[in-house]
């Protein structure tokens, strides 16, 4: 019964999504307030029913209802309850339902936090998001129904892939989807503006917190995926440039470009068309990722087991949505104004250079990911494009962008002086250069890669410090505390996010430059030393888990005779699927990780054991966390909160398809002052 209930709830959600998609959009174009007013309730209704459907599916998993085909394929009665719940999104059908749920959630969020926006705009935004929802619900109901029954029901389920039976699976997909799906909001904002013709600084200001929030989630989602691969897959790697990884990275790069471009559009009213196009591109990459992962066109460890028929549907959906929005863009392009002018050396130029670099990097990743398909489709053979290519191409493309991170924030809007900038940054440059020489030597040996990485990271941090100090100095407030308090949250957010990038670069550079590993055969009592840490294998014993049997090793680690930790790497054999799995033991530290994994028994008494020393590896994910926190700080900036606290503007029914005006229509005078063109 539960499955049928869930199925029915999905159908109701589809009906509501259709209402949400069609009625407000028509209402906005024809000026009918009652129709536009239907947007919010329809969105909330749709969310309610998808939530019910999702709850029904979760119930089916918890209850071990193996007459539901999807449950039988991805669960097992021995599976711990928490993983039965995460198994809901462990396969294609459930993860698409999760997509739809999160999309509905974002739509509800838009419906709640949009009191300050003009009604037609809100109606259009929710309407466009409704169109996307309709697409996904149709896809679910017609090709990927998680509630399909198998009769007679299976006696036992096939079990969730052991690699997915992990806390990482609990949080990584939801976070990632929050980011992916969040780009729909920016897309809807852009399309709404293109349709109405009101593509202006106000639109940019309203879009920005949505773009940044989605970006934060995506940053966290990707970082979680990378961290999970590191500790789960057992070989110590954290990024493989796998097509599915790239599918999440490209929206992130485009989203970063979009955030920076919105800064120009908001502050200076410039490059509106470019920003709108970027919003469309970011969302398109997100949809493209969905296609690549589920259609079988690319080979990946992450790919869902699926068939080309589904691929055809998604491709069709892509054509309608992306093709439609790009066509709309092409149609509207000439009718939008230009915005202010600026010099070749100015903050606008720096931000646009940032955009160019990020977009070219995105294009490079896309090219590398799709190239094997391209060559095969042209009948020119089979190729593989892997990490050696991406690293060779991506790093040189991003390096200038990282360098610009130091220059952009210090450059004035509209017109700046290159000599002046160079003068202000000479201290930062000097310190960076010296650090690049000295730091690697202190850590071991000097290599060009490590030197370059340290140079970039030090540059980012020292220029950020220079920026902060200069800005505080110039501020008229009397005390340091007052000066600090006077800076907007978005400014600190920017500094924090940029420094987070520096931390990330340090992590990547130092672990690649200085990690060491040893591949050993160990008997009980044997010791091995790596980077000053001594590992002693004390025991290997059998351990029974809830749905697996394991051989567990006990490794005592000491350094200079002082105990450091005890590690328990495991080699598991899952009962249901008879799959072996390595569960590595990791001792996390601020300046290093110790990583130990158990291989195979090589004799009656000896096992193969691998131990790694990975310096600064956690800085990789810590840096990502800082970036996300920086984004969060920017979103919580006062200026967005004061917007919400002002009285909502009265609905203006005649305003339906009015043409652009640059002045923010719903802002208060206080807002106008805040967004003046002073150097932030």
């Amino acid at each position: 019964m539960t499955a049928e209930l869930g199925h029915f709830a999905l159908i109701l959600a589809l009906v509501l999504a259709l209402v949400q998609a069609i009625v407000p959009l028509v209402g906005a174009s024809t000026g009918r307030p009652a129709w536009m007013a239907l947007a919010r309730p329809a969105a909330r209704g749709q969310f309610l029913f998808i939530a019910i459907a999702f709850a029904c599916l979760t119930r089916a998993f918890i209850d071990n209802d193996f007459s539901v085909l999807y449950v039988a394929e991805h669960s097992n009665s021995l599976l711990p309850v928490v993983y039965r719940v995460t198994a809901v999104w462990g396969g294609h059908e459930g993860s698409i339902l999760l997509w739809a749920l999160i999309l509905a959630l974002w739509t509800v969020a838009v419906s709640l936090f949009s009191r300050h926006l003009p009604e037609p705009m809100v109606a259009r935004i929710i309407g466009i998001m409704g169109l996307i929802s309709v697409g996904f619900l149709l896809f679910t109901l017609f090709t990927s129904n998680p509630f399909e029954r198998m009769l007679p029901g299976a006696v036992e389920g096939k079990d969730l892939n052991p690699l997915l039976q992990d806390p990482g699976m609990v949080i990584h997909p939801p976070m990632l989807y929050m980011g992916y799906v969040g780009s729909t909001v920016a897309f809807a904002f852009a399309l709404s503006a293109l349709i109405s013709g009101r593509l202006d600084a106000a639109w940019a200001r309203w879009s920005r917190p949505w773009v940044t929030t989605a970006w934060c989630f995506l940053t966290v989602g990707i970082a979680l995926g990378s961290g999970w691969a590191y500790y789960e897959l057992g070989w110590g790697g954290w990024w493989f440039w796998d097509p599915v990884e790239n599918a999440s990275f490209m929206p992130w790069l485009a989203g970063t470009a979009l955030m920076h471009s919105l800064a120009v559009t908001e502050k200076r009213g410039g490059f509106k068309m470019w920003t709108a196009l970027l919003a469309i591109i970011a969302f398109s990459l997100s949809l493209l990722g969905t296609f690549l992962v589920r259609s079988g066109v690319l080979s990946s460890v992450h790919a869902f087991a699926t068939d080309p028929a589904r691929g055809v549907f998604i491709l069709g959906f892509l054509v309608v949505v992306i093709g439609g929005s790009l066509a709309l863009f092409a149609w509207r392009a000439p009718s939008v104004g230009t915005g202010g002018s600026f010099e070749m050396v100015s903050r606008e130029s720096a931000l646009l250079a940032n955009n160019v670099l990020l977009l070219v990097a995105t294009a490079a990743v896309l090219l590398g990911t799709l190239y094997p398909l391209l060559i095969d489709a042209l009948g020119m053979g089979k190729l593989s494009v892997g990490p050696p290519y991406f690293e060779a191409v991506f790093v040189p493309l991003m390096a200038p962008a990282l360098f610009l991170m130091g220059i952009g924030p210090i450059t004035r809007w509209k017109q700046a002086n290159a000599i002046d900038i160079a003068r202000r940054l000479r201290w930062a440059g000097g310190v960076s250069f010296v650090s690049a020489i000295v730091a690697p030597l202190l850590l071991g040996h000097w290599t060009p890669m490590v030197g370059f990485g340290v140079l970039l990271a030090a540059w980012i941090v020292t220029t950020a410090a220079t920026n902060l100090i200069g800005r505080l100095r110039e501020h008229p407030a009397p005390t340091l505390r007052a000066k600090l308090a006077a800076q907007p949250g978005s400014y600190y957010g920017m500094l924090l996010a940029h420094c987070g990038m520096a931390v990330f670069i340090i992590g990547v550079t130092l672990v690649k430059g200085y990690e060491t590993e040893k591949d050993l055969r160990m008997e009980v009592g044997d010791t091995a030393t790596i980077a000053g840490y001594t590992f002693r294998l004390d025991a290997i014993r059998e351990r029974a888990g809830p749905n697996y049997n394991a051989a567990q090793g006990t490794l005592t680690v000491t350094r200079d005779g002082q105990p450091v930790t005890v590690m328990h790497p495991e080699k598991r054999l899952y009962t249901a699927t008879k799959t072996p799995m390595t569960e590595a033991a990791i001792d996390t530290g601020f300046t290093r990780d110790l990583y130990a994994s158990l291989g195979e028994p090589v004799s009656r008494t000896a096992w193969s054991v691998r131990i790694h020393h990975k310096p600064f590896i956690d800085w990789i994910w810590f840096g990502c966390l800082l970036m996300a926190l920086g984004g969060l700080m920017a979103v919580l900036d006062r200026r967005y909160r004061s917007v919400r606290s002002t009285a909502p503007q009265p609905a203006q029914p005649a305003q339906a398809a009015s043409s652009a005006s640059s002045a923010p229509a719903s802002g208060t005078p206080a807002l106008v002052v805040r967004t003046s063109t002073r150097v932030p």
Binding site: S299, V301, V356, A361, A363, A364, S384, V385, G386, D519
Partner: protein, 175 residues
Amino acid sequence: MRRPSYQPARFAAFARGLVLALVWVPVLLGSAAATAKEAADAATNPALEARVMAVSEELRCLVCQNQTIADSHADLAVDLRNQIRTKLQAGESEREIKAYMVERYGDFVLYRPPLKATTVLLWVGPFALLALAAFALWRTIRQRAQRLAAAAPSDAELARARRLLKPDPAGHSDR
């Protein structure tokens, strides 16, 4: 220690256990002392092994879903790693080994696509695109500045605007 099933044998069992313990304990300790040694490297030649891994990391495991030969546990991957080891020991270079693999499996087996006519777009494309985009950006900025300068109000228009914007001496200003 099995518990004795009848009383009289209890002492005998205990004595047996004690003797055994006294014999075994030194054996255990002794064995611990005898085997508490530096663990041997899994490979007989770690330096060679490192080279095998370096080459393997550039090659694709054909039976896996996107993994290198270095990371994969598949039979074919193990076989290929062994082949690589043998060849390195025989003195072959990385290039020769890659050529050997490509001869049998095609370019598909290389994770670093070789530079040939079909991959020029791949290798050169991003940088060409960067040059193109940078040029386009530069030109757009210049053109925009020129266009706006041309559309800028003339001095006469500016003077007129200033006059209109000055507050009315009679106080009828509407700002």
